[in-house]
Amino acid sequence: MTNNSTSSVRHSLTIGWLYPDLMSTYGDRGNIITLQKRCEWRGIKVEVKKISVGDDAKHLKLCSLVMMGGAEDRQQEIVSEDLKKGKDKILKEVIENNIPGIFICGAYQFLGNYYKEANGNIITGLGIFDVHTENTSKNNARLIGNIAVKNFLNDVLIGFENHGGRTYLGKNVKALGTVENGYGNNGEDKTEGAIYKNAIGTYLHGPILPKNPLLADWLIGKALETKYKEQIALEPLDDTLENQARDAIVKTL
């Protein structure tokens, strides 16, 4: 890494948004909006590349940051089919090359090793996160509610979870954080999400980034670092409203 510098109008980023038309069921668009605005407010130019079914996988290689949200079952099947046609290999490649990414709910599960349905059927995942998910019939209750997670940045993530699947971490992945209030990955081991290199998997809706500006800025920072091969500091922004929103939830936990 060369000397540190501060972000400026010289910098630009491309955010890859995977399957925005299919995997946007829970307001996950808010994550893209947050990243975009937090860059724009610092003078960093942003292009959002929407990558969906049938689009050339090579577009992924041009991205400095990747996001994929959650979806209903029918849409997830369509996405799964399309990923296997080439995007899966490129996605693995760019994540191995330290591209930051955030993968929410259904997307998080996809990037795991496998998903086991109630009838015993096993759906293979992309194997990027060393995790697997189960949704066995005896666990009919969904894990729903506001959630607070102490994460690797020593910051508390505030969000809302709503998932039937229970995810378990393997050896080659770290948890995104420890659950302070709520269920997390499986309601048992107090872990939430997963992080591998600069890729994050999580169950947090909210959506996650608007109320967690430190995480949003970490993703932006990593994107700049990977693109420009140097650590680039971000000018601080006024996060008063963000903190008021966080406090309002924390009070109820």
Binding site: S24, T25, Y26, G27, R74, I144, N146, P210, A248
Partner: protein
């Protein structure tokens, strides 16, 4: 036994009304059903009332009231469950209030709004003459789960019945498909728009895949959300022919209200009313609380647009923009009836506000979340303010109004109820 329940229920309701105890509209019915779980079925078996069920994500209350107004203007007697009482216990309460002491309802018609997730349960107890299906949009995901799941539940419940007349929104593929699967096509009629539409979707759009074969649908015209003139390029399923694509009179602004008006017109036609009678009825229509009702408060005018999901909110924004709004109050709550997860607000195109709003006040339990949404829409800090206290938020907004200006209020469901208390001094219904 049912007669005793009726007497008991009427006493309870009278008591609660007398003491202004608030939502007395579901617990009498709840108790009745505890005593006799087939209470609803029994009362209706005794009565000659024709029943119309109205279901859909947005528009149930407005459409039910449109139909009720048309019928009552033309001399018919109608009962209708109050807004917010659209589960089976609410329907039971309505029957309790309107049944006479021998357990019979005398009204010629009953219009029951039914919550999306309760249609199956209601159809187990009620044999309606008509089912009106308005639309299916994303709404309260933490309560209902998925749109496709609800469509399937509706299909299973309805296709079991062989003699109900269906009035369906042709422009909503999942709803139209229910009708298209019915064996007796004479029992289905469709309403929809026949106008020039958009060529591109809004962001928060569901079900744009063929309900039969799963292929992405083509649209000759898009009206709003996923409603439009749709067809499948693979299996050639397409929007069915419209029986109703206009109305003799339009009492409410907003494209979403065209659908509601066509639906009400079609139902009234099926019930035997003439075009002239329907027009006369529509001209008498007064909107329901929160659904574009205009209220006076502290000498100023305010108009409320209940906005409880991305589609409804977008349509409210478009409509108030047409009405030349400049002062807006947004109230976001996250109580059980609103949905505890407010992620959906990021699917609203609040960027639109930048085109016309001069003052935005954001309030409700989750005021700060909505404030963030507004901030991230690029709206300058000077244009909006956030305050969790509903009453002071109203006062602050009113202070910014000139005498001729109207304050446009976009509340979620429980915020609307709170507003009603403040604006009219009465607890809801």
């Amino acid at each position: 036994m049912n007669q005793i329940i009726v007497l008991f229920g009427k006493t309870l309701s009278a008591f609660s009304q007398m003491f202004n105890l608030g939502n007395g509209s579901t617990w009498p019915g709840h108790i009745a059903l505890q005593i006799n779980k087939h209470f609803v079925r029994d009362i209706l078996k005794n009565s000659a009332t024709k029943i119309i069920l109205v279901a859909g994500t947005n528009g149930k209350t407005t459409t039910s009231l449109l139909i009720k107004t048309i019928l009552e203007t033309n001399g018919k007697t109608v009962i209708h469950n109050s807004s917010g009482a659209n589960l089976i216990n609410g329907i039971a309460s309505t029957l309790l209030l309107n049944a006479n002491l021998i357990g019979k309802v005398r009204a010629e018609y009953a219009i029951f709004e039914v919550d999306e997730n309760s249609l199956t349960k209601v159809l187990a107890e009620i044999d309606p003459q008509y089912i009106l299906l308005l639309n299916l949009f994303r709404d309260q995901l933490d309560r209902y789960g998925e749109v496709a799941t609800i469509a399937k539940k509706w299909t299973d419940a309805i296709l079991h019945e062989e003699h109900i007349n269906l009035i369906l929104n042709a422009d909503d593929p999942q709803i139209a498909f229910i009708g298209q699967q019915l064996f007796n096509q004479k029992l289905v009629k469709y309403f929809g728009l026949n106008a020039q539409g958009k060529k591109e979707f809004d962001h928060a759009v569901d079900s744009i895949y063929c309900p039969r074969c799963g292929t992405k649908l083509d649209y000759a015209d898009i009206y709003y959300s996923h409603l439009g003139n749709w067809s499948c390029p693979k299996c050639h399923l397409k929007r069915p022919q419209l029986s109703q694509e206009a109305a003799p009179f339009y009492p409410l602004p907003g494209q979403y209200n065209e659908y509601n008006t066509f639906a009400a017109t079609l139902v009234a036609k099926e019930l035997g009313l003439s075009e002239g009678q329907i027009k006369h009825g529509l001209q008498q229509f007064k909107p329901a609380f929160g659904r574009q009702e205009i209220v006076e408060y502290q000498g100023k005018k305010m108009q409320l647009f209940l906005s409880k999901n991305p589609t409804g909110f977008n349509e409210s924004l478009r409509t108030i923009k047409e009405l030349k709004a400049t002062n807006i109050l947004i109230a976001l709550n996250d109580r059980i009836a609103d949905g505890r997860d407010v992620s959906w607000i990021w699917d609203i195109d609040t960027e639109m506000l930048g085109e016309f709003a001069k003052h935005i006040t954001v309030t409700g339990d989750r005021a700060y979340d909505m404030g963030l949404r507004i901030k991230y829409s690029g709206i300058p800090n000077s244009t909006f303010q956030t305050s969790t206290n509903l009453k002071s938020a109203i006062s602050e907004s009113i202070n910014k109004l000139s005498d001729e200006e109207t304050l446009y209020i976009l509340p979620t469901y429980t915020a609307m109820l709170e507003l009603r208390k403040i604006l009219s001094g009465k607890k809801i219904l």
